[in-house]
């Protein structure tokens, strides 16, 4: 391998340097029908799952074909997507916030033809490449994080849990038979790069063992005061240990105070907390982001722990499927999952979804915990 220079000269890093230019302006990327009707759309329709039609005040129509993807994509795969956009859509496409791809077309026939084409594309292993769907009152693609593929703090994998979940709820991606949209999100640790804290169903990787202390190296790798200050519960304090007659500056951890957040590890690599048995998944439900009908709401923990069961996490998908199916059968039209649970009462939610309620589900973290306890005699048997 010979090093190929782009033109950058390490001896004169400032020479010809361009910086702080930001992203390109979005108008360079708008398909013509979108550019023409920008800000002048009249209404939209979902013609069938995965097919949207937007009508402009001008009468122009834009047909959008939406398909799911695994967010982790390769160069080869993205080039395939580009080929499709070149062939059908004049070289334009869009990604949605939830990692779907959207292709815009100007005629219904072409849109249908594209849908057929997309449905026919499969990976060698057998899965769809571009399943069409993800619209309306269904499940759409899962927003997720890095997991074991690329992060140093995960308690579970992201891509694998998402693949297993989307396989299990695939019908609801393809169809629109739920009472309201269901947003599933996944984050592989409490940092929640994926911000699952306001999702209808959230898959959250959690640790359950306090950090291991790498006493011999800690002082070399970390600033002890930073590790101490990082702990939200004050579980970490400076300390000294003696190993083989040598004294090391290090930290001590009050284990009963640890809530396994991993903040100390973020500040100090000598405090890892991942563990094959300790780590797993908490399932949260009932969050939402939109202001429609009810206020935005946080997700609530309904299953404190399911073990990691790679590669297909059967316990996790079983719980998710049960919650989704019970909701689908019982909720009113337009009612989001959390609103349904609030209406029937959470005690009823646990009963109907076959979930066990345990002490782990009663909040005990600081002030906000108090607002989740019941302060009325209005409850159900």
């Amino acid at each position: 391998m010979a090093f190929i220079s782009s033109g950058y000269n390490p001896d004169k890093p400032m020479e010809g340097r361009i910086s702080d230019i930001g992203p390109r302006h979005f108008t360079e990327f708008l398909p013509p029908v979108i550019a023409k009707n920008f800000g002048k759309w009249d209404y939209h329709e979902i013609l069938e799952p995965g097919l949207l039609c937007h009508t402009g005040v001008s009468g122009d129509k834009a047909y959008t074909v939406r398909c799911g993807t695994a967010r982790l994509m390769t160069v080869t795969h993205i080039r395939e997507i580009c080929d499709i956009a070149d062939k059908f859509c004049g070289g334009f496409l869009r990604f949605t916030t939830r990692n779907n791809i959207e292709f815009i077309l100007e005629s219904l026939d072409e849109a249908k033809e594209l849908m057929k084409f997309l449905e026919a594309q499969k990976f060698e292993g057998g899965s769809y490449k571009f399943p069409v769907g993800g619209t309306g009152a269904g499940v759409t693609n899962i927003v997720h994080t890095q997991g074991w593929v690329h992060c140093h703090t995960p308690a579970t994998d992201a891509s694998g849990t998402v693949k297993a979940t989307m396989d299990a709820v695939f019908d609801d991606f393809k169809e629109m038979k739920l009472p309201a949209p269901v947003r599933i999100s996944m984050a592989c640790c409490l940092n929640m790069c994926g911000a699952v804290h306001c999702s209808d169903i959230a898959i959250l990787g959690i640790h359950r063992k306090p950090p291991i202390i790498d006493h011999k190296y800690l002082d070399n790798l970390c600033e002890i005061p930073l590790a101490v200050a990082a702990c939200p519960t004050g579980a970490v304090r400076p300390s000294k240990v003696e190993i083989d007659g040598e004294t090391y500056k290090t930290v001590a951890i009050k284990e009963e105070r640890c809530m396994f957040c991993g903040n100390c590890y973020t500040m100090c690599p000598s405090l890892p907390l991942s563990d094959g048995e300790g780590d797993g998944i908490a399932i949260m439900v009932g969050g939402k982001i939109s202001n429609r009908l009810t206020k935005p709401a946080f997700s609530k923990v309904v299953v404190p722990f399911v073990p990691n069961e790679p590669p297909r996490w059967p316990t996790m998908t079983k719980v998710i499927k049960k919650i989704l199916d019970t909701y689908a059968a019982e909720a009113n039209k337009y009612e989001r999952l959390g609103d349904w649970a609030n209406r029937i009462g959470w005690e009823r939610f646990f009963e109907k979804c076959d979930l066990e309620f345990s002490a782990h589900l009663i909040d005990d973290f600081r002030d906000p915990a108090y607002y989740t306890w019941r302060q009325t005699s209005q409850f159900k048997w």
Binding site: P23, I46, A62, V75, G136, A137, H150, K163, D279, Y334
Partner: protein
């Protein structure tokens, strides 16, 4: 013949949902073939080694990526995240495997030219693996080595006229909903505002000066497609003040069953005939609708703009014309102090492109000044705001006080009066007091 055996990952190739494992295998094969005859600048077999290390995690139930490592491009404090494998001997192809964040075009519209150019860079100088997109919004390029970073940055800026995204204690790459480009609900041009502020605050984006990360998100209406209320330190949500516009003929068409409610979103199941009383009037959270004599009537002063009636009958009902933005402050995930929703800081501010959004920028800069003075290291603004109080934030932001900022007034009367709030101040004379009160 695959380099590593991956019996666990192979099981993720079956099932209908697109398999990332199949995709990575396809990439591994293509790189091995190298039909274009590229002189790959990082290990050719890094996709295989990535599968290898991932399989190991599937067996152990533990990650095999080391903690951090500071890498980046000259003059930037963000945009690249260092990553090293903790089994470099077994998986040399991913021993150094840094992430490069690339600023995405607002609203995530692309031309294939742009994507192909990016893929060419990543084919030659990276692993060939990406995330489209990271949770914050940027394009995430997974896996390259340190010597390639400046080269990638050079090609991005010189050949593609595009910048890196954000990471670290700085402004993160702002993200917007697609807004006006394809949505009839957009109350302002979320993409333009996002673009403008991104450009304005390039310095904050690339040179960490904040206590911790800071995110902007722009939703053009209360439906909240990019989750501005839930996921941004300052969230911008489109809104309006005047009445919702009603087309009674179209209302009749919904009632008559000629137009499918909710744009057809419920088509997968037979919910029975559309019942405007039950599905719209009775559900309206502010009870401001009624359906009388075939007409939908609205007491618009009482409407809380939840979007339900509009979403349900998009052809009949339209957002008002007096449009602007509500600003929410302090949303974040649980770390450190528990999850927080954004709190309404400014109920309404104009979105005025003609004066370069000055009203909005004034508020942003006031908020930042306060947070940079008062915030502790690694404290999100939501936590600073909780610690010092919402009123302190509002005062610093210079936005005034309004009952709309609270759900309800305070529960406890422990009011922190200041000396200047009280007649005569706090200075008192004990001797004078004793003239009236014996010891």
């Amino acid at each position: 013949m695959a380099k590593h055996k991956t019996p666990l990952l192979d099981q993720l190739e079956s099932g209908p949902w697109p398999s990332f494992v199949s995709d990575i295998k396809q990439e591994a094969e293509n790189r091995a073939k190298n039909e274009k005859g590229l002189d790959y600048q990082v290990a050719v077999d890094c996709p295989e080694d990535l599968l290898g290390v991932l399989e190991m995690s599937y067996t152990d139930g533990e990650t095999h990526w080391k903690h951090g490592g500071i890498v980046g491009v000259f003059g930037y404090g963000g945009g690249v995240i260092g990553r090293y494998c903790d089994q470099p001997e077994m998986f040399p192809g991913v021993a150094h495997f840094h992430t490069v964040r690339v600023a995405q075009p607002t609203g995530k519209w692309y031309t294939t030219d742009f994507l192909r150019q990016l893929m060419d860079i990543w084919d030659l100088r990276g692993s060939g693996l990406t995330n489209m997109h990271g949770a914050t919004g940027d394009i995430v390029m997974l896996g390259t080595t340190t010597p390639q970073l400046e080269e990638i940055f050079w090609e991005l800026t010189h050949d593609m006229n595009n910048d890196l995204g954000g990471s670290g204690s700085n402004l993160r790459t702002p993200a917007a909903c697609m807004g006006m480009s394809r949505c009839e609900y957009a109350c302002y041009d979320s993409q333009e505002l996002c673009y403008n502020l991104t450009q304005e605050y390039q310095d904050e984006l690339h040179r960490p000066a904040f206590p911790y990360k800071f995110k902007f998100k722009f939703d053009a209406c209360p439906n909240g497609c990019v989750a501005a209320i839930a996921r941004s330190d300052l969230g911008f949500l489109g809104t309006w003040k005047d009445p919702i516009k009603i087309d009674q003929e179209k209302v009749a068409a919904y009632v008559g069953g000629e137009i499918a409610p909710n744009a057809g979103a419920h088509a997968g199941r037979d919910w029975g005939a559309f019942d405007i009383q039950k599905e719209v009037v009775d559900l309206c959270p502010s009870q401001c609708l009624s359906y009388e004599g075939g007409k939908l009537v609205m007491d618009h002063k009482e409407c809380v703009r939840c979007m339900h009636c509009i979403n349900t009958m998009p052809q009949a009902l339209k957002i008002g014309d007096e449009r602007g933005v509500s600003m929410f402050c302090g949303a974040k995930a649980p770390i450190l102090d528990g999850p927080q929703m954004g709190s309404l800081l400014v109920p309404f501010v104009e979105v005025n492109k003609d004066d370069d959004y000055q009203a909005i920028k004034d508020i942003i800069e006031n908020v930042w000044d306060w947070w940079m003075d008062e915030g502790k290291n690694r404290e999100r603004i939501g936590e600073t705001m909780k610690r010092l109080g919402f009123a302190a934030l509002a005062e610093a932001a210079g936005v005034g006080i309004d009952p709309r900022q609270v759900q309800e007034p305070r529960h406890n009367p422990y009011i922190f009066w200041k000396a200047e709030d009280v007649e005569g101040g706090w200075e008192r004379d004990i001797d004078d007091f004793r003239k009236r009160h014996q010891r």
